[in-house]
Amino acid sequence: MLKAAILYFLIVVPGTAGEICMSHTMKTVGEVVDFRPHSIALAIGRAMKLRSFWIGILMMATGFFALLGMLSVAKVSFVFPATALSYAVGTLGGRLFLGERVTPQRWFGVLMVCIGVALVAIGKG
Protein backbone atom coordinates (compact mmCIF):
# COMPACT_ATOMS: atom_id res chain seq x y z
CA MET A 1 0.00 0.00 0.00
CA LEU A 2 2.81 2.42 0.99
CA LYS A 3 4.75 1.45 -2.14
CA ALA A 4 1.72 2.20 -4.33
CA ALA A 5 1.15 5.56 -2.54
CA ILE A 6 4.78 6.62 -3.10
CA LEU A 7 4.62 5.59 -6.76
CA TYR A 8 1.32 7.44 -7.19
CA PHE A 9 2.83 10.65 -5.72
CA LEU A 10 5.84 10.33 -8.04
CA ILE A 11 3.56 9.90 -11.06
CA VAL A 12 1.39 12.93 -10.25
CA VAL A 13 3.74 15.61 -8.85
CA PRO A 14 7.04 15.38 -10.77
CA GLY A 15 5.18 14.14 -13.85
CA THR A 16 2.89 17.19 -13.92
CA ALA A 17 5.71 19.63 -13.12
CA GLY A 18 7.68 18.17 -16.02
CA GLU A 19 4.77 18.69 -18.40
CA ILE A 20 4.41 22.31 -17.27
CA CYS A 21 8.13 22.80 -18.01
CA MET A 22 7.59 21.24 -21.43
CA SER A 23 4.63 23.52 -22.16
CA HIS A 24 6.73 26.55 -21.19
CA THR A 25 9.51 25.30 -23.48
CA MET A 26 7.25 24.88 -26.51
CA LYS A 27 5.64 28.31 -25.96
CA THR A 28 9.18 29.73 -25.99
CA VAL A 29 9.94 27.90 -29.27
CA GLY A 30 6.74 29.29 -30.81
CA GLU A 31 3.73 27.96 -32.70
CA VAL A 32 4.62 25.25 -35.20
CA VAL A 33 2.87 26.06 -38.48
CA ASP A 34 4.86 23.85 -40.87
CA PHE A 35 4.31 20.11 -40.37
CA ARG A 36 6.90 18.75 -42.80
CA PRO A 37 9.23 16.31 -41.01
CA HIS A 38 12.33 18.52 -41.21
CA SER A 39 10.39 21.51 -39.83
CA ILE A 40 9.11 19.40 -36.95
CA ALA A 41 12.68 18.20 -36.32
CA LEU A 42 13.92 21.81 -36.35
CA ALA A 43 11.28 22.90 -33.83
CA ILE A 44 12.10 19.99 -31.51
CA GLY A 45 15.81 20.74 -31.99
CA ARG A 46 15.20 24.33 -30.87
CA ALA A 47 13.32 23.04 -27.84
CA MET A 48 16.21 20.74 -26.95
CA LYS A 49 18.55 23.72 -26.72
CA LEU A 50 16.49 25.12 -23.83
CA ARG A 51 17.28 24.19 -20.23
CA SER A 52 13.59 23.96 -19.33
CA PHE A 53 13.24 21.11 -21.86
CA TRP A 54 15.78 18.96 -20.01
CA ILE A 55 14.40 19.84 -16.58
CA GLY A 56 10.99 18.78 -17.90
CA ILE A 57 12.41 15.54 -19.34
CA LEU A 58 14.07 14.70 -16.01
CA MET A 59 10.84 15.23 -14.07
CA MET A 60 8.71 13.42 -16.63
CA ALA A 61 11.18 10.51 -16.59
CA THR A 62 10.71 10.29 -12.81
CA GLY A 63 6.96 10.08 -13.36
CA PHE A 64 7.43 7.51 -16.17
CA PHE A 65 9.57 5.14 -14.09
CA ALA A 66 7.09 5.44 -11.23
CA LEU A 67 4.39 4.52 -13.76
CA LEU A 68 6.35 1.42 -14.83
CA GLY A 69 6.60 0.38 -11.18
CA MET A 70 2.90 1.04 -10.61
CA LEU A 71 1.93 -1.02 -13.67
CA SER A 72 3.66 -4.03 -12.22
CA VAL A 73 1.50 -3.94 -9.08
CA ALA A 74 -1.91 -2.81 -10.43
CA LYS A 75 -4.20 -3.34 -13.41
CA VAL A 76 -3.67 -1.06 -16.41
CA SER A 77 -7.37 -0.12 -16.54
CA PHE A 78 -7.05 1.17 -12.95
CA VAL A 79 -3.61 2.80 -13.08
CA PHE A 80 -4.15 5.15 -16.01
CA PRO A 81 -7.61 6.50 -15.16
CA ALA A 82 -6.52 6.88 -11.50
CA THR A 83 -3.58 9.06 -12.51
CA ALA A 84 -6.13 11.48 -14.02
CA LEU A 85 -5.90 13.44 -10.75
CA SER A 86 -2.82 14.96 -12.36
CA TYR A 87 -5.24 16.71 -14.75
CA ALA A 88 -6.56 18.87 -11.90
CA VAL A 89 -3.03 19.53 -10.60
CA GLY A 90 -1.90 20.33 -14.13
CA THR A 91 -4.77 22.75 -14.78
CA LEU A 92 -3.94 24.60 -11.58
CA GLY A 93 -0.28 24.64 -12.65
CA GLY A 94 -1.24 26.03 -16.06
CA ARG A 95 -3.17 28.82 -14.34
CA LEU A 96 -0.46 29.64 -11.77
CA PHE A 97 2.79 29.10 -13.69
CA LEU A 98 1.86 29.59 -17.35
CA GLY A 99 -0.69 32.42 -16.95
CA GLU A 100 -3.42 30.54 -18.82
CA ARG A 101 -7.01 31.75 -18.47
CA VAL A 102 -8.98 28.83 -17.08
CA THR A 103 -12.66 29.59 -17.63
CA PRO A 104 -15.46 28.21 -15.38
CA GLN A 105 -16.38 25.82 -18.21
CA ARG A 106 -12.84 24.49 -18.31
CA TRP A 107 -12.87 24.07 -14.51
CA PHE A 108 -16.19 22.24 -14.84
CA GLY A 109 -14.55 19.87 -17.29
CA VAL A 110 -11.68 19.30 -14.89
CA LEU A 111 -14.18 18.67 -12.05
CA MET A 112 -15.90 16.03 -14.18
CA VAL A 113 -12.53 14.41 -14.79
CA CYS A 114 -11.87 14.39 -11.01
CA ILE A 115 -15.26 12.75 -10.29
CA GLY A 116 -14.43 10.23 -12.97
CA VAL A 117 -11.12 9.55 -11.26
CA ALA A 118 -12.85 8.99 -7.91
CA LEU A 119 -15.36 6.58 -9.46
CA VAL A 120 -12.61 4.66 -11.21
CA ALA A 121 -10.75 4.34 -7.88
CA ILE A 122 -13.91 3.24 -6.00
CA GLY A 123 -14.69 0.75 -8.75
CA LYS A 124 -11.37 -1.05 -8.36
CA GLY A 125 -12.52 -4.64 -8.11
Binding site: K27, S72, Y87, T91, Q105, G109
Partner: protein
Protein backbone atom coordinates in the same frame (compact mmCIF):
# COMPACT_ATOMS: atom_id res chain seq x y z
CA UNK B 1 -0.42 32.91 -36.39
CA UNK B 2 -3.25 30.57 -37.39
CA UNK B 3 -6.94 31.56 -37.67
CA UNK B 4 -9.18 30.48 -34.74
CA UNK B 5 -10.86 27.83 -36.92
CA UNK B 6 -7.53 26.53 -38.18
CA UNK B 7 -6.19 26.52 -34.64
CA UNK B 8 -9.14 24.48 -33.39
CA UNK B 9 -8.84 22.02 -36.29
CA UNK B 10 -5.12 21.37 -35.97
CA UNK B 11 -5.48 21.10 -32.18
CA UNK B 12 -8.20 18.45 -32.57
CA UNK B 13 -6.16 16.53 -35.17
CA UNK B 14 -3.05 16.47 -32.97
CA UNK B 15 -5.09 15.44 -29.90
CA UNK B 16 -6.73 12.65 -31.92
CA UNK B 17 -3.27 11.38 -32.87
CA UNK B 18 -2.23 11.56 -29.21
CA UNK B 19 -5.26 9.67 -27.89
CA UNK B 20 -4.92 7.03 -30.62
CA UNK B 21 -1.29 6.08 -30.08
CA UNK B 22 -0.97 6.67 -26.31
CA UNK B 23 -3.49 4.02 -25.16
CA UNK B 24 -1.93 1.49 -27.53
CA UNK B 25 1.49 2.32 -26.13
CA UNK B 26 0.16 2.09 -22.58
CA UNK B 27 -1.44 -1.28 -23.32
CA UNK B 28 1.81 -2.65 -24.76
CA UNK B 29 3.63 -1.33 -21.69
CA UNK B 30 1.03 -2.89 -19.39
CA UNK B 31 1.32 -6.24 -21.13
CA UNK B 32 5.12 -6.04 -21.06
CA UNK B 33 5.24 -5.17 -17.36
CA UNK B 34 2.95 -8.08 -16.50
CA UNK B 35 5.46 -10.33 -18.30
CA UNK B 36 8.33 -8.70 -16.36
CA UNK B 37 6.57 -9.27 -13.02
CA UNK B 38 6.27 -7.28 -9.81
CA UNK B 39 9.10 -5.26 -8.29
CA UNK B 40 10.24 -7.51 -5.41
CA UNK B 41 12.06 -4.97 -3.25
CA UNK B 42 13.73 -1.55 -3.40
CA UNK B 43 17.24 -3.04 -3.05
CA UNK B 44 19.61 -1.77 -5.83
CA UNK B 45 20.19 -5.28 -7.21
CA UNK B 46 16.47 -5.96 -7.32
CA UNK B 47 15.83 -2.61 -9.04
CA UNK B 48 18.59 -3.32 -11.58
CA UNK B 49 17.14 -6.72 -12.48
CA UNK B 50 13.65 -5.25 -12.67
CA UNK B 51 14.66 -2.54 -15.16
CA UNK B 52 16.95 -4.94 -17.08
CA UNK B 53 14.01 -7.30 -17.64
CA UNK B 54 11.81 -4.34 -18.63
CA UNK B 55 14.25 -2.93 -21.19
CA UNK B 56 14.98 -6.28 -22.85
CA UNK B 57 11.29 -6.83 -23.57
CA UNK B 58 10.19 -6.31 -27.20
CA UNK B 59 6.63 -5.61 -26.08
CA UNK B 60 7.85 -2.77 -23.91
CA UNK B 61 9.92 -1.31 -26.78
CA UNK B 62 6.85 -1.28 -29.06
CA UNK B 63 5.03 0.56 -26.27
CA UNK B 64 7.91 3.04 -25.96
CA UNK B 65 7.89 3.65 -29.77
CA UNK B 66 4.18 4.42 -29.69
CA UNK B 67 4.63 6.71 -26.70
CA UNK B 68 7.44 8.57 -28.51
CA UNK B 69 5.01 9.25 -31.37
CA UNK B 70 2.58 10.54 -28.75
CA UNK B 71 5.32 12.74 -27.28
CA UNK B 72 6.14 14.45 -30.61
CA UNK B 73 2.43 15.18 -31.20
CA UNK B 74 2.20 16.42 -27.62
CA UNK B 75 5.14 18.82 -28.06
CA UNK B 76 3.70 20.16 -31.31
CA UNK B 77 0.26 20.87 -29.87
CA UNK B 78 1.79 22.54 -26.82
CA UNK B 79 3.60 24.97 -29.11
CA UNK B 80 0.29 26.80 -29.56
CA UNK B 81 -2.41 25.35 -27.26
CA UNK B 82 -2.88 25.85 -23.50
CA UNK B 83 -1.53 23.10 -21.28
CA UNK B 84 -4.78 23.38 -19.28
CA UNK B 85 -6.67 22.61 -22.53
CA UNK B 86 -4.49 19.82 -23.92
CA UNK B 87 -4.17 17.95 -20.63
CA UNK B 88 -7.86 17.36 -19.83
CA UNK B 89 -8.79 17.03 -23.52
CA UNK B 90 -6.29 14.21 -23.90
CA UNK B 91 -7.85 12.32 -20.97
CA UNK B 92 -10.37 10.94 -23.48
CA UNK B 93 -7.70 8.29 -23.90
CA UNK B 94 -9.07 6.84 -20.61
CA UNK B 95 -12.02 5.54 -22.62
CA UNK B 96 -9.73 3.85 -25.13
CA UNK B 97 -7.61 2.39 -22.30
CA UNK B 98 -10.70 0.88 -20.65
CA UNK B 99 -11.80 -0.57 -23.99
CA UNK B 100 -8.35 -1.99 -24.71
CA UNK B 101 -8.04 -3.35 -21.15
CA UNK B 102 -11.43 -5.06 -21.50
CA UNK B 103 -11.08 -6.44 -25.02
CA UNK B 104 -7.31 -6.97 -25.39
CA UNK B 105 -6.00 -7.60 -21.87
CA UNK B 106 -9.29 -9.28 -20.79
CA UNK B 107 -9.31 -7.42 -17.47
CA UNK B 108 -12.55 -6.94 -15.57
CA UNK B 109 -13.78 -3.36 -15.85
CA UNK B 110 -16.61 -2.86 -13.34
CA UNK B 111 -19.73 -0.73 -14.07
CA UNK B 112 -18.50 1.88 -11.53
CA UNK B 113 -15.27 2.21 -13.43
CA UNK B 114 -17.16 2.53 -16.70
CA UNK B 115 -19.21 5.31 -15.05
CA UNK B 116 -15.94 7.02 -14.07
CA UNK B 117 -14.74 6.86 -17.63
CA UNK B 118 -18.12 8.35 -18.63
CA UNK B 119 -17.57 11.35 -16.32
CA UNK B 120 -14.09 11.81 -17.78
CA UNK B 121 -15.62 11.89 -21.26
CA UNK B 122 -18.15 14.58 -20.17
CA UNK B 123 -15.26 16.59 -18.74
CA UNK B 124 -13.30 16.29 -21.96
CA UNK B 125 -16.34 17.43 -23.93
CA UNK B 126 -16.71 20.54 -21.70
CA UNK B 127 -13.03 21.41 -21.99
CA UNK B 128 -13.08 20.78 -25.73
CA UNK B 129 -15.66 23.54 -26.16
CA UNK B 130 -13.34 26.21 -24.69
CA UNK B 131 -10.70 28.17 -26.64
CA UNK B 132 -7.53 26.11 -27.08
CA UNK B 133 -5.32 29.20 -26.63
CA UNK B 134 -5.75 31.95 -24.03
CA UNK B 135 -2.22 33.42 -24.05
CA UNK B 136 -0.23 35.31 -26.69
CA UNK B 137 2.24 33.34 -28.79
CA UNK B 138 4.60 33.81 -31.71
CA UNK B 139 5.12 31.52 -34.73
CA UNK B 140 8.38 29.76 -35.51
Amino acid sequence: MTSPQGLHLKTIILILIMVSVAPLGDTFLGKGMKQVGALGSWAPASLFHFFFRAFTSGTIWIGIGLLLTFFVAYLLVLSWADYSYVLPASSISSLMIALLAHFVLHETVTPTRWAGVGFICVGVFAVGRTQPRTTEHRSC
